[in-house]
């Protein structure tokens, strides 16, 4: 792999020497050790860690569209590890740790910006909730700071502290290591690094069937022919149900639409990641200058990738309730991704009832921040045919046993409330 660096950049600039492809345009082979369905961030990360951590290099990543076409390129780019439910705390912190070394690991600048995230509270009860979260984080070795109203005002003087605020700010929880990552770069960085280790990344290759029988999965039928594999992994969040159905599986997942928004680029305006507490709303500013924000899912099952306008209005209202000065700024673009929603808001990384078929999905709002850890743990689970300790809580069978123990915000069993 051609190493990227400043000196390389200058040399190419001065000599007009052409760059090489970031990843090969691979043609599907007949057989692989592992086939990963889905060329998003998670699938590519899985392929990379299979090769890098386990030496399994005969791996194909099959992508129906272009690489990174799904949620890795549609999210609001936040990374954080402020989780309090046992299992998720450890998993997401592991992910954040991986983020912290990822640019160097991949030799691709994914622009991790640990600018800090502040989650706001607007009532004493919400402050107690944040306290429980922050205390849990600290007890698990994750830094956290509880801020009172004055401290929030000191840090974020431009929020609405006026008497006109409908939901006055009571305080907030700060995680300084949280921040943002350049989302597309994650897909490209993993693709390039996996490719360099021999992984075949095959775009424009739609899986039409999963070959399986009572002894397990054996490969896939695709728009580009049959591909045999010892092991098959599904990593297609958004369309998990459709792909799992090819193996006869019914999942605790419903697909919902999540919109994201960006304003025109402006000079630095918001220096942190801020989460409103009165309604689900989160905002940060991209390095290019656009304010990137989002809210709740549209609220009903959908695969349309087109958002509903009332949600646009609602999110704009949240933006102004939080930062009144945003009123004059202009919305440049809004788009939507299809998101797996689950009955407890937590994901799945696990084996399935079909032998040699592995599943990664159900990410709700948190797929992007989980990318490195999900890839790491799924790769481990595939390689050892046993769930990685960090994801033992993320099994498909948990609702028959109990459930609710991963429900971070206590929204109950309705997928569309998480």
């Amino acid at each position: 792999m051609l190493r990227y660096s400043l000196s390389r950049l200058v040399r190419h600039a001065l000599t007009d020497r052409p760059w090489s492809r970031a990843w090969r345009e691979a043609k599907p082979r007949n057989r692989y050790d592992v086939v990963i369905i889905g060329g998003g961030g998670h699938g590519l990360a899985t392929a990379y860690y299979l090769a890098a951590n386990h030496g399994i290099r005969r791996v194909a990543v099959l992508e129906r569209s272009y690489l990174g076409a799904g949620n890795v390129g549609r999210n609001t780019t936040l990374v954080r590890s402020n989780y309090m439910m046992n299992g998720s705390t450890q998993f997401f912190e592991f992910s954040l740790k991986l983020w912290e070394g990822l640019s160097q690991e991949l030799n691709f600048n994914v622009m991790l910006s640990q600018r800090g995230q502040i989650v706001l509270a607007h009532s004493p009860a919400q402050m107690d909730g944040l306290a429980r979260r922050g205390n849990t984080m600290l007890l698990n070795g994750i830094e956290a700071e509880l801020l009172d109203r004055g401290q929030v005002q000191h840090l974020l003087p431009y929020l609405d502290y006026s008497p006109a605020a409908r939901f006055p700010i009571a305080g907030g929880l700060l995680q300084r290591r949280a921040g943002t990552v350049r989302h597309d770069a994650v897909a490209w960085g993993y693709a390039r690094a996996a490719d360099a280790l021999g992984v075949d990344i095959i775009e424009g290759c739609e899986v039409t069937a999963i070959m399986h029988d009572s002894s397990g999965a054996h490969g896939v039928e695709t728009s580009r022919g049959r591909i045999l594999a010892d092991r098959v992994a599904i990593s297609v969040a958004g369309h998990s149900s459709q792909v799992a159905a090819m193996a006869g599986l019914e999942l605790p997942i419903e697909s919902h639409l999540l919109q994201a928004f960006v304003t025109e680029p402006i000079k630095p305006f918001v220096d942190h990641v801020i989460s409103f507490g009165a309604e689900l709303f989160y905002i940060s500013q991209s390095d290019k200058g656009g304010l990137v924000f989002g809210g709740h899912i549209d609220g009903f099952n959908s695969f349309t990738q087109r958002g509903q306008f009332p949600k646009v209005e609602g999110v704009a209202q949240c933006a102004l309730a939080l930062i009144p000065g945003m009123s004059r700024l202009k919305l440049l673009r809004h788009w939507a991704g299809i998101q797996d929603m689950t009955p407890d808001g937590a994901p799945f990384i696990c084996r399935t009832p079909v032998r040699n078929l592995y599943f990664n999905g159900g990410w709700c709002y948190q797929g992007f921040k989980a990318t490195p850890a999900a890839g790491w743990c799924l790769a481990d689970t595939i390689a050892r045919d046993e769930e990685h300790p960090l994801v033992r809580c993320y099994g498909l069978g948990r609702f028959a046993q109990g459930g609710a123990s991963l429900d971070e915000y206590g929204h109950g069993h309705w997928t569309y409330r998480h």
Partner: protein, 97 residues
């Protein structure tokens, strides 16, 4: 904007309604069915990309729960009926799921 034609009140934006989720799986009879039946009813979803049977309540209108068949790939609503009258829209007969 998604619009649903309430059989009583007429066509309204979806914001007048409350989404009630998947209506595909028949609810086990009250007091009947074990963990498995209720688990499958509550936690497993067909989640189709296509026609989807789902509940909506016209909370800002007549407060009736409706059974709506909507294509999740296009948001085109094919059928709406009061949920209590919707037997004819059942995909399966009673008790099959």
């Amino acid at each position: 904007m998604l619009r649903i034609e309430c059989p009583l009140c007429g066509e309204r934006p979806y914001t007048e309604y409350r989404y009630g989720g998947d209506a595909d799986k028949r609810r086990p009879m009250h007091g009947a069915g074990g963990i498995e039946a209720w688990h499958d009813h509550l936690f497993l979803f067909d989640n189709p990309k296509g026609p989807h049977r789902e509940f909506w309540q016209h909370v800002q209108g007549c407060r009736q729960w409706l059974l709506v068949v909507r294509d999740t790939a296009t948001n085109i609503v094919a059928e709406v009926a009061l949920a209590r009258d919707a037997r004819g829209m059942d995909r399966q007969g009673p008790g099959e799921r």
